[in-house]
Amino acid sequence: MRDVAVIGIGTTNFGLLGEMTVEEMGVRAFSDAIRDAGVEKKDIEALFLGNFTAGMLQGQETLAPMIAYSLGLRENIAAVKVEGACCSSSIGIRLGYQLIASGVHDLVLVGGAEKMTTASTARATRALSAAMDPVSESHTGYTYPGFFGLVANRYMYEYGGTIEQMGMVSVKNHNNSVSNPRARFRHRITLEEVLESRLVADPLKLYDCCPMADGAAALVLCSLERAREYSKKPVVIAGSGMSRGFRTTHETINDKGTMLSLPCTVSAAKEAFGMAKLQPGDIDVVELHDCFTIAEIVDSEDLGFFERGKGGRAVQEGLTQVDGKTPINPSGGLISKGHPVGATGCGQAYEIVKQLRGEHENQVRNAEIGLTHNAGGTGAICAVHIFKRGF
């Protein structure tokens, strides 16, 4: 197996891009990444595009080959959409990694694009619920905020976690994205504002939830042996973990005896850390899947950064701040940078690569090793990637 590096990154802003089609967002992010890498388009051998809702919200499919055409890529290319709900574009990172590591290809584009904000919240919420089992979940009135509302109530019941600790995740992530020009939200909020915002799925309030967003993000992946031809600052993919979890909330509880852990996160993290020969304590900067404030807390425990039931306290003690022991979501995360679902995984990788290059607007000092965690469904799928400086 060969080492694989990220040699180019590109993105649109995450937020309200209603005037653009989803294809245009994708084209902009991919072309930005190609320019950043300095590669020739004719040398690109495959393209993976993460997208979840374009078929449902815009009636648009077959986006990957259309984007490949619009970019002017060569005709003999596999241009493939990958879908795993909110985890979609991380699947592309994984597949691109494997194609290069195995020696099949040298240069692969991976990215994601999503257009959500021109749909009503009710319609977009319904589209997102396509990642649930209809028979036992989505046709019963269950929603994603509902899922994390259940987790939050149980977390408080079992561990004595507090709604204030959850609110502090939102305060931190909003604070982090003030300096991030790619973020949907650029304003600070107070804990009182979080706690006084309207209830969405008790005990979770509006500011406990990530916003819908439009946006696209892309990476150019290259074998490390050729990466130095193009980049002075290649970032190596040191570990790649992917997993399937459970298809429903109740099946998770029935098989694992708890809903205070996403088994898919635990298994993807185990694979990624094993491949990278690293421990949670070695990670300098983390971008994880904070679709809801309680998710950031549970994820931080599942990834091994904190003991079970201690993730809430860690937030309270400032350990996850940008200058803390384990900086989590210095970009603003899904909660404040925004969550254009199929683009989120590559957006996280974009932020981590900028951190490891030392070029981030909210820079973690001396960041050399970073981790992304991206999950989809009610814990049906997860990808964890570990990145380290290749320079």
């Binding site: 046709h139 509902g146 109740h250």
Partner: protein, 114 residues
């Protein structure tokens, strides 16, 4: 198993190969690899494992909101199933609240709070 009549009971699927009980749907027994199941019906007495109040559902459920949604631990079968509550206006839903199964309507398991 606390057996109930099919018209009034909470439906589970029991593998005809190894006897393992599942919450439907289940297409293949992952314990013994059989695809042959029998429908069995329980009285569905249990308690609330966790709950939330859904205030922003998608379109089809908008008129019902806000409504409680729970994961219910069914005691005899020792399995958790998703459910909603017929009398949440009169009784507060809490973790540990005791419930009994009332009916299945479409895909929804309705429980009554004791």
């Amino acid at each position: 198993m606390s057996v109930a009549a099919p018209e009034t009971g909470l439906k589970f699927l029991q593998c005809n190969g190894c006897g393992k009980l599942y919450v439907p749907p289940k297409y293949l027994c992952t314990q013994c690899d059989q695809d042959d199941f029998s429908e069995v019906f329980s009285k569905g007495a249990g308690e609330v494992y966790s709950f939330t109040i859904i205030r922003m559902p998608f379109e089809e459920f908008a008129e019902e909101a806000p409504y409680a949604f729970g994961e219910i631990k069914v005691n005899n079968e020792n399995l958790v199933v998703p459910g909603r509550f017929t009398n949440e206006q009169e009784k507060a839903v809490k973790i540990g609240s005791r419930v009994s199964f009332v009916k299945r309507d479409g895909c929804i398991n309705w429980f009554q709070l004791a």
